[in-house]
Assembly symmetry: C2
Homo-oligomer: 183 residues x 2
């Protein structure tokens, strides 16, 4: 399959001692966005988790993330911090018990997405100060839906953490680096 090409210098990121060239993927006819790949890159994931560790707000008691790209990052951050983490899914699983269901409104195409948080997992967030963890926060609609899941679980949102920020979300996100939306 032929892909549009882009001229100019390669785009790369450095986190701690780890540097990665980023693949640029075409968005329609309008430009390219840099692709962050934590899946399949345990070294970059670990470097990001280590850099995010001091950004976890004091008093945090649990983390909440969503499949799939942020999953190894949230796991690693849980491992390093000792804080438990929970994972919202994007499809209903047959084993779920009384899951919380949360819509994420679609900004660009009007296609909304649905998040599912299994009942026993939601129960573990009850009464807890919870930090939302994502790989990239762009518009913030997914982060806002995760925040609603925290509240509906009986927890309180204690902050937003992302490896990268892309765009102008109004949420008070703590992040490592800003990524251009289009290059």
């Amino acid at each position: 399959m032929s892909q549009p090409t882009r001229s100019g210098p390669p785009f790369e990121i450095t986190i701690g001692s780890v540097t990665r060239p980023l693949r640029l993927v075409p968005v329609g006819q309008m430009g390219f966005v840099p692709l962050i790949e934590f899946l399949g890159d345990s070294e970059l994931t670990r470097a990001a988790a280590q850099a995010l560790l001091p950004l976890i707000p004091e008093g945090s008691e649990a983390l909440l993330t969503v499949v799939t790209n942020a999953l190894p990052l949230a796991h690693e951050l849980s491992d390093l911090s000792g804080l438990p983490y929970e994972v919202a899914r994007k499809k209903r699983r047959t084993y779920m018990q009384a899951p919380l269901i949360q819509e994420v409104p679609g900004l660009t195409l009007g296609v909304s997405e649905t998040l599912w948080l299994d009942g026993p997992h939601a129960a573990r967030l009850s009464g807890k100060k919870v930090v939302i963890v994502q790989d990239v926060i762009a518009s913030g609609t997914t982060a806002a839906a995760l925040a609603r899941l925290v509240e509906r679980s009986g927890g309180t949102v204690h902050g937003y953490l992302a490896a990268f920020k892309q765009g102008n979300s109004a949420l008070p996100v703590r992040y490592l680096q800003e990524l251009p939306g289009r290059v």
Copy 2:
């Protein structure tokens, strides 16, 4: 939503120093299967990865897994072993370049599943001795499809690793524990 109940002692597993009660989920009217949850449990994931580490065959050069449940486990095993890992997806992603597409025949319902391995990721398996990593190997059809992806990438299958074995797959799987298919 009411769930069928099961009498008898709770079902639990122990890996290293980590013990977890397992939720038993109903399968039709016919019984229960124990549910292994690595997502949201970094302690259990780490214990499983540490126990699997010595089972990685000598000479292995890369790991291949599939989303979603085995993902944190494969990440952690990559982290501990220093071996790179790749991840097959169950849906096509828009950014994929010349992905390998592999069907997984459905045994029970006749519904087949499709695995997608992004072209640049497949290229990283070329010429490598690759170990398949899963959370649970049951029928072995997914493991066999992952093995085909390794071969089609130009790599060779160097072994099968799973935290748990469930049922009677003919594949030469190295695993930590056997799980009952139904309880």
